[in-house]
Subunit: 454 residues, 2 copies
């Protein structure tokens, strides 16, 4: 026996099983452990079955703010991070957690760009009962959302905004993890949602981000406290890496505006860009634009930012920026002046109110689901969407209605789908005898946005 | 529009994602959900990544007694369940949760069979720092543990006991799930451990089961409360399907007996069958045998069962039953009379005590690990074991020792392995100046075993 002591390797590699065990037991993972796990998973070094066990442990054990930031960072750096420093203007984006009838992105990108900001917007497709910006844009004949990074820069440079889908180069870890979360019941975690959203948004090379976190019957976060928790998490995660951040907790107890469905929502967004459109949608666009101008340093208060947004709509500058972007991305610009060039459903039918009274409640998720049933969204990821179908609301919360008057109109191509959607829609409106109390405000709360103290 | 109401399918199939979600959210799964999930996983209808997410949810959310029973049942019926009703005698087995130096199975199978019981023992291999019955048996030249079910019945019929490994037909769900748990940090769950053990034991077609649940520094359950929890779970799960059950919570704060290692443990088991052997091992064998005779209806009290076991050893009947089984399973019966026919290590070295005093603490897991390092166990599942190596203890808890006297002897074939094991063993004994207080009893507690009231 020569020696009873033997040296051990100085630094042992991080093992997947140890990272899973540590999170399972509720301990805080180090940034190195998280980075190593995510990098190995993205490149195939860790199999799906280990990643899904870890994801479930994260869902049930949670993460600290430091862990959430490390996870965001690891996912961000799993792919390309755009460098937009060639653009002297502030790069500001807006992101919504998803709702029904939420077409604000279509208004905000050209509106903010018309006011001097650069808006490098990378969006997603419809998810569950909510619509997706890419699906809406693709209802415009010719519009391409799959640009190369070089094309993306060219459009940005020409008109200050561009709207594309996630590229293969951006946050590949998120794409792989999201596909796994989707089939392992690990989507619903504020930490994982935060890292997924923030890694993609930070990859855009932005200086500031306005978050629209929805809460209510049509939102993913039904409870306001959950929406606030997620908003705080995202604001802090962005601020940790020096981004200017704000989150508006906004109401999703009824659809935003009156149009739900892809081409229908393009029509309504164009209305807002023209200075008309429903008041709730218009107000939310102005609020969000006000924050974008404020965080981007264009105006010294959000109120001034809002006034600027109103002027840009009134002057037609916002609509013209949309037209330029649309042309640069291959779309048919004539749709702007002639909505009949957009895909239109073959049939329409009205859903009449069964009684006289006031709309006291709307099952907003059911309305989103009805639109999916019509073909406007996807039941499975592989499904294609029908751009022409959807729902137009004639009554919203607090409105009076007489028996027989239409609550909404279904735009459809298939009788079977229409029947199913109609049955759902008939159950989605609650009608009370008395007029309801004061309406809930559209913006429930503002989180973050304090850029003066920094 | 013909109708706004459409019928839905009467019973929708159970979806994996819904079962995962339900467990994630802490709800109780129905037996149908558990059975459907396990059946689909076993036959490849559910991928590993969904099963591992579900397993982690089970680890962190737990299971009710009803769920645990349903899981056990689903795993049991994933494969063949032996029907031993052709044997008129009571079928009784013993199972240990794993320890260091635990060779009681080698004594109990022939001892209980000699007393008139049928013992259809299906055992496992070494796991982590603990030894496995199959590895020990295979150190006997020629001994075959992979019998067909027909051969198994033939041996049982000839001598009342047979000792084999898990066949492909028995609980395939457990084999597949265990392999997944092993790499996803989902082994440590009393519910999953219970279902894994009980599904395999119930597949043996037994009437009664004596469980030896270890607790202490060398056990998987270091904390006694965890051992008790698991024991209660297993006893209740067995009783729910009409089995007579008892669990003894026994001490594993030091190895059982003095011999650790495969052929070394066969030697010590033969000593006990001959009426000698260390007192702790001998006493535990008698206790467990007493319970087997009591639960099997051979004796009216466990005390009488214990006396019967003593008589069967004294008369040589137990040893002769072992000899018969050994021959029937292809082993060289001469090892019984000449231990030198068993594999022997090339070298041996003693670990001297660094000081004079009393053994106050033994790191029992470290001693098991030292045996694995010598080659007596597996670091990875694919490793083969060296049957000849191991450790013989010369001092146990409470024993006096003088400086320089041997604490234990290492039996080894490789200098490098011996060096590493020696370094570990030197740190595994704590020596105090004063004699320790009264020793802990070997059997801490008895759970279940109340068969009179049923």
């Amino acid at each position: 026996m020569t020696s009873t002591f033997r040296s051990r390797p100085a630094a042992s590699p991080i093992r997947a099983i140890d990272v899973i065990t540590k999170k399972r037991d509720g301990h805080e993972l180090s940034a190195a452990e998280i980075e190593s796990f995510i990098a190995a998973y993205t490149t195939g070094g860790i199999p799906d079955y280990q990643a899904s066990a870890w994801l479930m442990a994260v869902v049930l054990r949670g993460m600290s703010r430091t862990e959430t930031a490390a996870l965001t960072n690891a996912m961000l750096h799993s792919g390309e991070v755009l460098d937009l420093s060639e653009f002297p203007a502030a790069k500001v984006d807006k992101h919504s957690t998803g709702g029904v009838g939420d077409k604000t992105s279509l208004v905000l990108a050209p509106l903010a760009a018309a006011g001097g900001l650069v808006v490098p917007m990378i969006s997603g497709r419809g998810l569950g009962h909510t619509g997706g910006t890419l699906d809406k844009l693709e209802s415009i004949p010719g519009f391409k959302v799959n640009l190369s990074v070089a094309e993306f820069r060219r459009v940005l440079s020409a008109c200050g905004c561009a709207m594309i889908g996630q590229t293969a180069e951006i946050a590949p870890a998120d794409r792989k993890l999201y596909a796994l979360r989707d089939v392992t019941a690990t989507v619903e975690s504020p930490y994982l949602i935060c890292a997924s959203i923030m890694s993609k948004k930070l990859a855009e090379g932005i200086d500031a981000l306005v978050l629209d976190v929805k809460t209510g019957s049509g939102a993913f976060m039904k409870k306001e406290e959950d929406a606030i928790f997620l908003a705080e998490l995202m604001v802090e995660t962005g601020e940790r890496v020096g981004k200017k951040m704000v989150a508006l907790i906004t109401d999703m107890n009824q659809p935003l505006g009156t149009h739900i469905g892809n081409s229908l929502e393009v029509i309504e967004a164009l209305d807002v860009l023209r200075g008309s459109g429903p008041e709730d949608l218009r107000q939310l666009c102005l609020e969000l634009a006000g924050w974008m101008f404020y965080l981007g340093g264009i105006e010294s208060t959000t109120e001034l930012g809002k006034l600027k947004a109103e002027r840009l709509i009134r002057s037609g500058a916002a609509l013209e920026t949309f037209r330029t972007m649309l042309k640069l991305q291959g779309g048919d610009e004539h749709v702007i002046d002639d909505a009949s060039l957009l895909p239109r459903s073959k049939h329409a039918m009205q859903i009449p109110s069964p009684k006289t009274g006031f709309i006291s409640e709307i099952d907003c998720q059911a309305i989103g689901t009805a639109s999916v049933i019509l073909g406007g969204g996807r039941a499975k990821k592989e499904d294609s969407v029908d751009p022409s179908v959807g729902i137009i609301l004639h009554r919203k919360l607090g409105d009076a209605v007489s028996a027989g008057e239409p609550l909404c109109t279904i735009h459809y191509n298939s009788e079977t789908q229409a029947d199913e959607a109609a049955a759902l829609l008939q159950k989605s409106f609650r009608i009370a005898e008395a007029a309801p109390a004061k309406k809930k405000s559209l913006v429930h709360r503002v989180i973050g946005g304090d850029i003066t103290s920094r």
